[in-house]
């Protein structure tokens, strides 16, 4: 008996909308935390899903879809950042330091951390996002970004050190 591929079955728009709803937060958040702009993130996320719709017949399982979405979103984020050359990254040194200690649940602290992450170089930013937003292990990040595991680990360490130094005055 031939089993229908659940991914390919989503070529029907109704099923595809359900697939989009299932993964929209992941794709949108990666783009939003990377680009730090809602409109640009929404456009990028839409483009990713349009591409997904075109490639559905090549994806074999729901896990493959998730992997594919992360990889394509990551590549598109880097492309978008390079196209937006007119908006250079904010160097870590230029991110204002907190004037007083903040608590972990503080929305201001969260916003400041997001800004700090947004100031990282592109690849390091993606690695931090995949690690802390998507909760991926370095080996999984390496597969998504087609990097060596050691490269991912070292970049992650360097990024965390830089972030800690800049956020040094905050209380944890």
């Amino acid at each position: 008996m031939v089993r229908a591929n659940p991914v390919v079955a989503a070529t029907d728009l109704g099923d595809f909308a359900a697939l989009v709803r299932e993964h929209q937060a992941m794709v949108f958040s990666l783009a939003y935390h990377f680009l730090r702009e809602r409109a640009a993130a929404e456009e990028l996320a839409q483009d990713v899903f349009l591409q997904l719709h075109r490639c559905l017949d090549r994806l074999e399982s729901p896990a493959h879809v998730v992997f594919w979405l992360r990889r394509v979103t990551a590549h598109r984020c880097i492309d978008a950042a390079r196209r937006r050359g007119r908006r250079p990254e904010v160097p870590l040194e230029e991110v204002p330091e907190a004037s007083e200690p903040a608590a972990v649940g503080d929305p201001l602290l969260r916003e400041r951390l997001r800004k700090l992450v947004g100031s990282l170089p592109e690849q390091a930013r993606l690695i931090v996002l995949l690690r802390f937003q998507e909760d991926l292990e370095p080996a999984e990040i390496a597969r998504v970004l087609k990097l060596r595991v050691n490269t991912v680990k070292s970049q992650l360490q360097r990024a965390l050190t830089a972030l800690r130094q800049k956020a040094g005055s905050l209380e944890w």
């Binding site: 728009l13 989009v20 949108f28 993130a41 929404e42 075109r54 969260r110 931090v128 944890w172």
Partner: protein
């Protein structure tokens, strides 16, 4: 995971896009942005067709080569048979003439009958 990493995790929590995101994506697909037509050179039918044509061409070529080989072998065999028949005929005539003792062998037949081994070699026998 220490406090800093925990704070980072909180700060980078997933966010939802604006309401109706999926509908907007589907609307763009319905407008034709989604299912882009595959270019003709990437059609699977073309790929299979090309493979089939190549396979067919190889089979035809192989058959043609086999037929040519058979023809060459047949030509060679025919030549050998003809030479063998000529030698046999000459020898028969020579023997007949000797038995009857009527007349000496003809000049041409004598030439053939005189050195049959040479002609066997020439014919590849």
């Amino acid at each position: 995971m220490d406090g800093f990493e925990q704070a980072l995790k909180e700060g980078l929590r997933r966010q939802t896009p604006d309401e109706g995101f999926a509908a907007r994506v589907c609307a763009r697909i319905a407008e034709g942005h989604g299912a882009r037509a595959r270019p003709w050179w990437r059609l699977p039918q073309l790929r299979w067709g090309t493979a089939a044509a190549l396979g067919l061409a190889m089979l035809v070529g192989l058959r043609f080569w086999q037929v040519r080989q058979e023809h060459a072998r047949a030509e060679m065999a025919k030549t050998q048979v003809m030479v063998a028949l000529r030698i046999a005929g000459a020898k028969m005539r020579f023997a007949q003439d000797r038995v009857r003792g009527v007349s000496p062998p003809r000049k041409a037949d004598n030439r053939l009958a005189g050195d049959p081994e040479k002609h066997k070699t020439e014919a590849g026998l």
